[in-house]
Amino acid sequence: MILKGKAHRFGDDVNTDYIISGRYKFKTLDMKELATHVMEDLDPGFYSRVEEGDFIVAGSNFGCGSSREQAPLAIKYAGVSAVISESFARIYFRNSINNGLPSIVCDSSGIEDGDELEVDLENGTIKDLTRGTEIETSPLPKVMLDILNEGGLVPFINKHGRLPVE
């Protein structure tokens, strides 16, 4: 699968409270509604700027903080196709894959805000079309790739009738 879109640049330690604040997530299960508040405390204009297929590009430790699965869901429902970061916090990492939102680990330092990117999930490469560079990504563990390929953990279990580890 090839994903194409614009980079939206964030820094290190983007925590789940920034991604979706507790003051919204306790009120609703409507992810489209939550998505309108995504990144609000960090970048209030983000939701109105982001376009279908765009990428969030961050530094290290993306998704640190709480276990709220509303974080990757709000990102996904805002139209973001993948998050590209130097590293992810553990629970967020699992949650994003479980919901079919790719978390891509690589050296993201060369990507700047607004760059046009082309991401090849299978081959693990990112082309920065604006800068004419290519970035290698770290491969996902097989168990996570298997979940991602089925679109998430619930569809995986519905299809295979077992956990994604043989």
């Binding site: 330690d13 925590n15 409270d17 920034y18 604040s21 507790g22 003051r23 997530k25 306790f26 009120k27 609703t28 299960l29 609000e40 405390d41 960090l42 290290s60 430790n61 640190c64 903080g65 709480s66 276990s67 709220r68 699965e69 509303q70 869901l73 590293s87 916090a89 553990r90 629970i91 699992r94 949650n95 479980n98 919901n99 563990p141 168990v143 998430g152 953990l153 619930v154 279990i157 519905n158 956990l163 994604p164 580890v165």
Partner: protein, 419 residues
């Protein structure tokens, strides 16, 4: 090669010999979800083609984050939890029971040597009682309910040895903040911590739980300690389930070993807006505060309430400050009432709210106003955490919070503990 506590507990629950880096399916002894995560777990669960809850006796739901409900929309989410627990015969700890993590301990759901998941990142708290306990999201939790199992990557372990003796007015929270400041917010990502040493053994269970609670603020998957007589004493009379404590082998392999001596440790404060932005209290003394919170799954236990009460006893909270006290569970609140601690807080002018998360995560019971500084015993000070991105949160021990509430500015608590 010897094994770490994580390798042993995960191995025992996966039915085989496992080592760091392995990916295993392990059987869960207990699982917990709260009102911020359970409704979404119910929705994930409803997405399964077929199935029911595999082990209803091993699931607890807690309504603590937004309890009692401040809004109709929240009430509707609580109703989803009540319906689901009713349908499958699951334990529901409704409003007023307390913060989910303390309920899991009070009811002896998290035992030494057991494997526990919680749909809440601070599930790592029970590492202090020797449980391999880790936070998961709602979908993993739903899978746990459906199958009774979950997949895990067996973590590498950082061994942390803490020696020395805490000075008067310095507490386990100060050790925990010092560790987060030193190891940093992502210094232990994907890894487990094993904490030991004389300073850990000297602590009562309440103090140990505070340290394991902050393990996730270093990115860790678990914050494990060995069980000792104090641990076993806590569980005595609370459960008939077998207790099988697990110790690390002397020749276990560690990713890293760290040593600390806390004899000269000063009270610590984490400044806005990251938990690892830690300084000694002297550096922030005098910063005006508008609100103080004593409570949460970090510091709402009896030892914490006693320390805060000792500071405010016979004194008055400054008129510029709202001091909020939230006992971590109903059991703790009852004990605090009997000991007279609640009376002490009320006489000092504090507001005591029901057992639960209080204003920790910005849902209710004390959202700060723009530009206000809050000093809190909680574990997170992220911008917006308490419901207002224009407020500033400082984290400290219950004694430091209480001392600050009396003065209306961040204060060194040690003067209240000099003998």
């Amino acid at each position: 090669m010897g094994k770490t506590i994580s390798e042993k507990i995960l191995g025992a629950h996966a039915g085989g010999d496992v080592s760091a880096g392995d990916i295993v399916i392990a059987e869960l002894d207990y699982m917990m979800a709260q009102d911020g995560t359970a409704p979404l777990a119910v929705r994930s669960f409803d997405g399964f083609k077929e199935g029911k809850v595999a082990n209803p006796g091993r699931v607890a739901f807690c309504i603590d984050h937004s309890a009692p409900s401040p809004l109709k929309s929240v009430s509707d989410l609580h109703a989803i939890m009540r319906t689901f627990t009713g349908r499958y015969g699951l334990e529901l700890n409704d409003i007023g029971s307390g913060v989910c993590h303390q309920v899991m301990l009070d009811r002896a759901h998290a035992l030494p040597g057991s494997l526990v998941i919680g749909a809440d990142s601070h599930t790592c708290t029970y590492g202090a009682v020797n449980a391999f306990a880790t936070g998961v999201g709602s979908t993993d939790f739903a899978v746990g309910m459906l199958t009774g199992n979950l997949w895990f990557r067996v973590p590498e372990t950082i061994k942390i040895t803490i020696g020395g003796k805490l000075g008067a007015g310095v507490f386990s929270k100060d050790i925990a903040l010092m560790l987060v400041g030193d190891i940093t917010a992502d210094g232990a990502t994907y890894q487990a911590l094993e904490l030991s040493g004389s300073a850990i053994s000297d602590l009562d269970l309440d103090g140990r739980l505070t340290i394991s609670n902050l393990a996730v603020e270093m990115g860790a998957k678990a914050g494990l300690m060995e069980a000792d007589e104090k641990t076993l004493e806590f569980f005595r009379g609370r459960t008939d389930r077998p207790i099988v404590p697990v110790t690390a082998d002397g020749d276990a392999e560690y990713a890293k070993e760290l040593q600390y001596d806390i004899s000269d440790l000063a009270p610590q404060v984490a400044k806005p807006h990251t938990v690892d932005n830690v300084v000694p209290v002297e550096e922030v003394e005098g910063t005006p505060i508008a609100q103080g919170l004593v409570g949460t799954c970090t510091n709402g236990r009896l030892a914490d309430l006693r320390a805060a009460a000792e500071v405010v006893k016979g004194a008055k909270v400054d008129t510029s400050v709202r001091m909020i006290v939230a006992p971590a569970s109903r059991e703790i609140m009852i004990k605090a009432v009997r000991e007279g601690l609640i009376e002490t807080f009320l006489e000092a002018g504090a507001t005591v709210v029901p057992p639960g998360c209080a204003c920790c995560v910005g849902t209710h019971q004390g959202v700060p106003s723009d530009g206000e500084n809050v000093i809190s015993t909680a574990n997170r000070n992220f911008k917006g955490r308490m419901g207002n991105g224009e407020a500033f949160i400082y984290l400290a021990s219950p004694a430091t919070v209480a001392a600050s509430c009396l003065e209306g500015r961040i204060a060194d608590p040690r003067k209240h503990f000099e003998s």
